[in-house]
Amino acid sequence: MAHTSLPVRATRLAIGPLRGWRELALYGGLLALMALDLYLIFVFAPTERVQGDVQRIFYFHVGSAWLAFVAFFVVALGSVGYLWRRTPRWDYLAVGSAEIGVIFTTLTLATGSIWGRVVWGVWWTWDPRLTTTLVLWFIYVAYLALRTYLDNVATRRRMAAVLGIFGFVDVPIVWFSVQWWRSLHPQPTILQQGGGMPREMLVTLLVSVATFTLLYAVLLRQRFALERAADQAAALRDLLRAQAEIGG
């Protein structure tokens, strides 16, 4: 960067206070969808016969898990993109998505645990989905840890990208291994939903999934912009330092 003045665009971040109708539409749409979803979950959806109202956690739990899965897929996508193109944008995508994914994986585990407490009386069960989610949590926490412990920016991005791909490929293998292991050592299952779901429940579930997807998109957008701005700030700091050294 040979310029000494900031490109004005850099300071106008797509985060924080609302700017323009596009953001308004996005946030407004998300809020509306969330309101609809809440109505569906708590009013529209029928009460489950066996478990009672606590079953409604199911909609959050699945939504959360879905969001986490999408997030980690995007991490893999960003990782491939970065290794291929080597432009930072792909890395912003990967790290932002990883962070969101870890948050929602935690929420998936928490809601699953709470649900299990009521239905089975235990805080934890080695249900294959919960178990895989737990392993997933560790894999992506390790992803974030790797990034933390690598100081050089270019190295960090490259190594994280490799791990992002490796980790994602591992997930189906983990899933299969846990499934088979469980089939030999049966444990209570959290999710009893499946075929034969009443239509109201299915609709509620689909809207929940849609809501969480939109939520993910909005969060990712924020996080992406934050990462880019932080990177720009760091670049400018380095420019300052370089200029100070040269004395120009």
Binding site: S5, G52, I57, L107, R117, L226, A230, R237, L240
Partner: protein
Amino acid sequence: MMSGLWYLAVGYGVMWLGLFGYLVYVAGRVRAVRDELAEVQRQLAGRDVEQGRVVR
């Protein structure tokens, strides 16, 4: 079933807590980056003025 509702409320609360907690965290980082950008821009502009260059 009452205990079930209590847990439902807890689960619901956990979700919202998690979401808002993350939003607050991101907002905090956003603020920090904004401040840093403003600071750096100020320093660069100051340097430009010092050396008689044009500030855009």
